[in-house]
Symmetry: C2
Subunit: 460 residues, 2 copies
Amino acid sequence: MQKILDTVDAQLETSLERLFAFLRIPSISAQPSHAGDCRKAAEWARDALAGMGFSARLSETSGLPGVIATHHEAGPNAPHVLFYGHYDVQPADPLELWNSDPFDPQLVDGPRGKRIVARGAVDDKGQVVSFMEAVRAHLAVNGKLPVRLTVLLEGEEENGSPSLAELLSNERETLAADFVYVADTNMWDFATPAITTSLRGLAAIEVRLHGPKRDLHSGLFGGIALNPIQALVSILGELKDDTGRIQIPGFYDGITPVSPAQAENWAGLGFDARAFLGDVGLSTPAGEADQLPLAQLWARPTAELNGIYGGYQGEGSKTVIPAHATAKLTFRLVAGQDPEKVLKHFERFVTERLPKDARVEFKRGGAAPGFSLSPDAPFLRAATAALAAEFNKPAALIGSGASIPVVEAFKTHLGLDTLLVGFGLDDDCIHSPNEKFEMACFHRGTRAHARMLTAFAAQP
Amino acid sequence: MQKILDTVDAQLETSLERLFAFLRIPSISAQPSHAGDCRKAAEWARDALAGMGFSARLSETSGLPGVIATHHEAGPNAPHVLFYGHYDVQPADPLELWNSDPFDPQLVDGPRGKRIVARGAVDDKGQVVSFMEAVRAHLAVNGKLPVRLTVLLEGEEENGSPSLAELLSNERETLAADFVYVADTNMWDFATPAITTSLRGLAAIEVRLHGPKRDLHSGLFGGIALNPIQALVSILGELKDDTGRIQIPGFYDGITPVSPAQAENWAGLGFDARAFLGDVGLSTPAGEADQLPLAQLWARPTAELNGIYGGYQGEGSKTVIPAHATAKLTFRLVAGQDPEKVLKHFERFVTERLPKDARVEFKRGGAAPGFSLSPDAPFLRAATAALAAEFNKPAALIGSGASIPVVEAFKTHLGLDTLLVGFGLDDDCIHSPNEKFEMACFHRGTRAHARMLTAFAAQP
């Protein structure tokens, strides 16, 4: 292993040269005028992988092509890893806020040493090249890889991935790996690596409560006539108890509580909920009182009123009892919850509370389950050990309150779990002017990738 | 008395001729082109009253003039009655739906005998003339009236009474009576006279609940961040308990419960709540479960959500936690409730329930107290007895769930209570094409007015 790490260190300058070449291609997927540049970036990656001994090609779609490259000399008994990244970048506007040309990468001094500044420096070309350089070091030392490796680079990630499902479907056999390994996320902080082990899903629903068949005058009917706004708020007002616990029967079915090990890991992160909330004018975690703030964000489901309307909404007052009132809700879901069942439980919760003469209409929206890696997954244990060895401290096992579409896509189309490890930082300005990737993060990321490739192979 | 009633009967044909002359004047106050006609109607009424021996004049305002006429020969010890009516009418559009010219009054056969058809037939020229003919009969028999009588006819009632306050203020001394006697309301049904003895007041307020200082992404913040829609509905959901009782402490302070006599009177009216609600698609009284349906409409206050809004209200879903949410409420108030205190109690109710980090903003709207005649008021007892004598059954002592602006104005500007007795029917099509006044209602109304004038004088 030490030889491989030494090789990573020794090749750092040429690694950067290769990254810079990739960054100079303005592969902006959202802008049709850059379609040719996107294809150039795909070809650059294909050629770079082919140059390392991969069997590499473009995989055409109705949109921009994917890059597919395989290196399977490790043999059928070695684990099969599917690496995912993307070669496209966000638009660079507003250009006047950049200190240098976004497509002329620079090494700039910063408080943590040199940093690479360019559009795509970290999202995602820098992370992709960081991984590729780890592969290069393995091959340079051993002539082969410890795992069967398939690389998939997408060209439309920054544009909503319109062709990803098509690409996964077309390449289902090639992509039939043991797990997906994605390098597109952040470290916890400059000193602490992170693995994102859980994502929340989503279920959306609109509820409209009907009362009288037309708007009524509140003088002539007030007191005797059902008010659908009152009926709606009375029902939705019961969604949570005083401790923030959601009161829908069955809502929490299937959820695994946060394990003591996970809770300990999070407690060690020093998350400052007061500062996090202070940025948006709040101070106190508003979720379940018996849950850690980070659990409220990452590990616990929500019932969120995203919108409500009914009756008169103009200036002053109007003495109306409206015919109906409407609320829009989304539920953030965690692993174990069935989105369809959650919506059904909610519908029953509302229906059981309907007052006489009220009628309810539901309109279901999108639904996707939450995701969580088992703490016993071999590739997770391998990654955790490799990161600890490189950084001399345990990796943060973090969650995300929102979903990541590609993770859902891999689960849906390939049935695969995803390991999310990345070396970006929160202040990297992704999608913004002066996007950067700390040179130290690039370098230690490459070393960590190299260690992880070895560690994956050592697992049962 | 019998002589006076016989005179009413004998003069019926000429009474109708006088009413028809009044109805031929198209005194539409809302249409400036009819300002001259309005003045003509005022002059017609002034001259008619002067012709009966009143001291009569126009009282100019910045709008249309009022008619003021006094007949005080009854002497300083007789009760002083202020009669109010209006000489203006609604526009007649749409003309094509009338069966005859709205300003060419007709006697038409109907299921209850002859009916007078014209714009203003009942609202309010027919009711005014009905009263004037009762006065005429008294004067014809006795040469004087049993009470001191002041007549006030307004010319802008159908146009929102913009100059009424000015008129009342200008004529404060002339109008300093014992009570106001208004003939502009309906009977309970064709066989049953009615006195409107209570009106509900109103207090309006808007409540805006603020949470985070900007809209938040519900994936990144959901679970840990306060949702102001949820906070608002949780608070407003507690406004009423399962029995419909309003939970604001102090809300019911000062209210006199419905008396057994009043309840008995209402029970005798045969009000069909199911039919009343059925017309608007409902079936079950939604107010306080221990109150009669008519009490829910007339005698009990309400807390009504007239509007609510917050967050996303478009198609589909948006995963937002909004910065604020707003509700608009009005309270219908009954006699004894202080509007300012009700609003203060509500504000405390909300404020005490605010979760941490929530901030609330109130915007108060208009406020007017409820009104109710004491069942012991001498003029009410007098009117009740006179109506019972004429109709051979007790009058319905009804309420109105809404306010009547002139009643508020008399209370505010003159400090006077109002007796509301009228002889219209619910199917008279006021404000609509083919407005009518049943000849029998006009006739018996005149007889009842004649009896009431006598009865007022007989009270202590």
